[in-house]
Symmetry: C2
């Protein structure tokens, strides 16, 4: 093993990016604008003011290539960044591949995932504008945890609508959020009209991400001191996550390599978007030819089997219509363990890039994902989050191709989170109760039927 | 805030210690030798050969000041070391203290605690000697996890006897160990004579660390291909853990400060021992005057209220008699959440040093420990393990004394683990169901009654 390249490459705190990179500035085709859910006309900044602070709305619509990271946010990034770039020597050896496998480890912080990168600036801008509380939804719990931490740091209240089935199945995640001071409500709840309407029809409703979003948006819209906060999909979220890719670029410079392939798991797109966008910039502006691969579950194949069209971000049609690859806002994926990837659509940025063939996408089955996760755990000794393990699956597959061809490709993926709170999923895998969880044509068609007609 | 000192000081992988430091070499009074449990005569190397490999027995008895870390172990240390030295700027600010608070974060690895530092060399030496399997006990689960990881890395089988009450209350810890390939048995079990004898008397016995040790030792002693592995107490364990303090010294050199106070939580003593021993060396050989404070729970106050005498390490009297501060091998502490500190005695090294007044000890109550843990979580955003939070309590108390006196003392503690698997404890604290859990005179006397007469 070439030990000149360390297992982990860190950066100094002074090398943490001071600017976020806005990939829309370099996109040949910009994402189409969101549409007001009522008028179906392009949404104006004022349409968002009931739930977002001005600074985030401006970032959402900004054409600027770089946006300065406020000093206070940089200061807090130093609490847990930079994140290490790790060389997977042990995994390479186990695979017998000539490929060089690297992973950017974003689970190496107290919230356990990359989500802090955007929850901190979101809490900051809301605090700046005098808001007192943020409302949000959470499924797997990574986003709810990250927002709870950020709100604790800024002395903001935090109300998390947690999909009821997760609330019951993942009590540890609930307690983590409560430890950071959040109030956590199982969704659907009696706190909102959206929740009450659903409970009236089905008192035992297990909830969904779409329902929880509707509740959180309603909570924010109906309280003057409260805003809404979203952990993925939107342009400003991908903007904040660009710190992942920017650090990775700098780390590769120190290492003296450059990736042929960059891989990220993709639900709404915040992890993949933040990881790949600086590499896409290098492709577009410096003639680099890195393959950028989004990996999604076969059970929720929005890029690989979805339609590119306007759709709502939530189940109740409260959000603007966005131009996305979507399976339909009413699409219900099977209960796979990668809760963070169970979203019916993809970020408008990711969607446009995929349409323009500037990025690739793959769908992988749950069982094969856990096989990859186990291989990673046994050799790199980190138990990955089920979401992140999607990227591992593809990285291993690409490394095995190199084994056949003898190519020494440089493969990098982002390990977006650890699996400490996902042990029941591993228990199911270990006891042989897991399968590949595809999606039937019937379920797909039912989902497509919920896409609104314009 | 003085930002010239970074939040986190790392070392390069080349700066990971290449030698372990054996504090017994510099102790003015060496620990008395262990006694054979049958003959009560000083134990010989051969007495340990049924359960330990030769290299570890040699280390256990070595008078050498430094012992080389084998290349293969160094290689694996690089998977997760060096660990960061963190400046607690946010906590300092919240306390309004002029003190400089640092913590060496040993929870920043996949096993979640400092225990990997010794599980890796223990697995290595057993593998070298041709053993096929290691047996051990675990209470809170940190040690069982660390040994599972190490055995996975060396392709050894791993059998963990997990205290039954923990097995039932902490399923996530069990699954983590199983994910790394360990077989995990609730103790007492039907697998051993020790277990069967106890189950015959009490089929519903919830188990204890002492019982689980007896089972693991019996398993190892009765299988030729199997050895026993202990995660604390013994000299070779403290030896391996010296990497914590050695790295810390080097990090302070880079930072340009030197600690006035070094603090560690103390159960068997592996974390405190590994943290303080290089600082003790500097005290003894270079005229430094760092205060070294072991922190234990008031519910299990072996140093502060125990007796210095020979006692068994386990409940069944299988282990050698060791010279320790002990509450009696039959002492049953209340069910505090810091499971890793619920041991009836302290390492012979720690005990001798405490007797010789070269280190200090304090006992703190559970509720005050969780108050400190919450303060740490909200400001430094890491949820600490309940064990580690004992050190935080004392660090905060010392920092508050500095606030009164205006002294800019440098206070360092080891944050030996994260609390991701201890969320039920936080839930109890948050719901107001926790108290300070002392120990009654009656329970103490009952414990003392189990100390064997020589």
């Amino acid at each position: 093993m070439a030990k000149d390249i360390p297992y982990k490459t860190y950066l100094s705190e002074k090398e943490i990016p001071r600017k976020w990179y806005n990939v829309t500035a370099d996109m040949p085709n910009k994402p189409q604008p969101p549409l007001h859910p009522g008028t179906k006309q392009p949404a104006q900044a004022s349409d968002f003011q009931a739930i977002f602070p001005d600074a985030l709305i401006a970032q959402e619509m900004s054409p600027q290539r770089y946006i300065d990271i406020p000093e206070e946010v940089s200061e807090l990034y130093r609490l847990y960044r930079p994140s290490p770039m790790c060389r997977a020597y042990m995994l390479e050896k186990a695979l017998g591949t000539p490929a060089h496998i690297y992973y950017k480890y974003e689970g190496n912080n107290p919230s356990g995932s990359h989500k802090l990168n955007t929850s901190i600036p979101q809490a900051y801008y809301n605090k700046q504008q005098g808001l007192k509380r943020l409302a949000t939804e959470t499924g797997a719990g990574q986003w709810g945890t990250a927002l709870s931490v950020a709100c604790a740091l800024f002395g903001l209240g935090c109300s998390v609508y947690m999909v009821r089935v997760s609330y019951e199945q993942k009590p540890y995640r609930r307690i983590v959020m409560q430890t950071y001071g959040a109030d956590v409500t199982p969704s659907p709840s009696n706190k909102t009209n959206a929740g009450r309407a659903i409970l009236a029809k089905d008192p035992d409703c297990p909830g969904s991400l779409g329902i929880a979003i509707s509740e959180a948006v309603e909570d924010a819209a109906s309280h003057d001191d409260t805003n809404y906060s979203l952990g993925s999909v939107l342009n400003h979220v991908l903007l904040h996550q660009s710190v992942i890719g920017e650090e990775a670029l700098l780390q590769f410079e120190k290492i003296g390599e450059y990736p042929d392939i960059v891989i990220g798991c993709c639900g709404g797109g915040s992890n993949f978007g933040g990881t790949m966008s600086p590499f896409l910039r290098e492709n577009l502006t410096k003639g680099k030819k890195t393959r950028l691969i989004a990996v999604e579950p076969t059970a929720c194949p929005s890029l690989t089997r979805g339609r590119f069209t306007y759709d709502f971000g939530d189940a109740s049609g409260y959000t603007p219509l966005m131009p996305m690859y979507t399976l339909g806002n009413g699409f219900i994926p099977s209960k796979i363990h990668a809760g963070g990837l169970r979203y019916h659509a993809d970020s408008p940025i990711i969607s446009q890039l995929y349409k323009d063939k500037l990025i690739e996408a793959q769908a992988v089955g749950q069982k094969s994902v856990f096989e990859a996760a186990m291989m990673f755990a046994l050799h790199e000794i980190i138990i990955p989050a089920p979401e992140s393990a999607h990227a591992i699956r593809t990285a291993i597959d690409e490394a095995l191709k190199c084994k056949k061809t003898g190519e020494e490709k440089v493969i990098m993926f982002t390990l977006s989170g650890h699996g400490n709170f996902d042990m029941t999923a591993y228990d199911m895998y270990l006891s042989g109760k897991m399968d590949n969880e595809g999606v039937s044509e019937e379920v797909l068609q039912k989902g497509f039927g919920t896409i609104p007609k314009l």
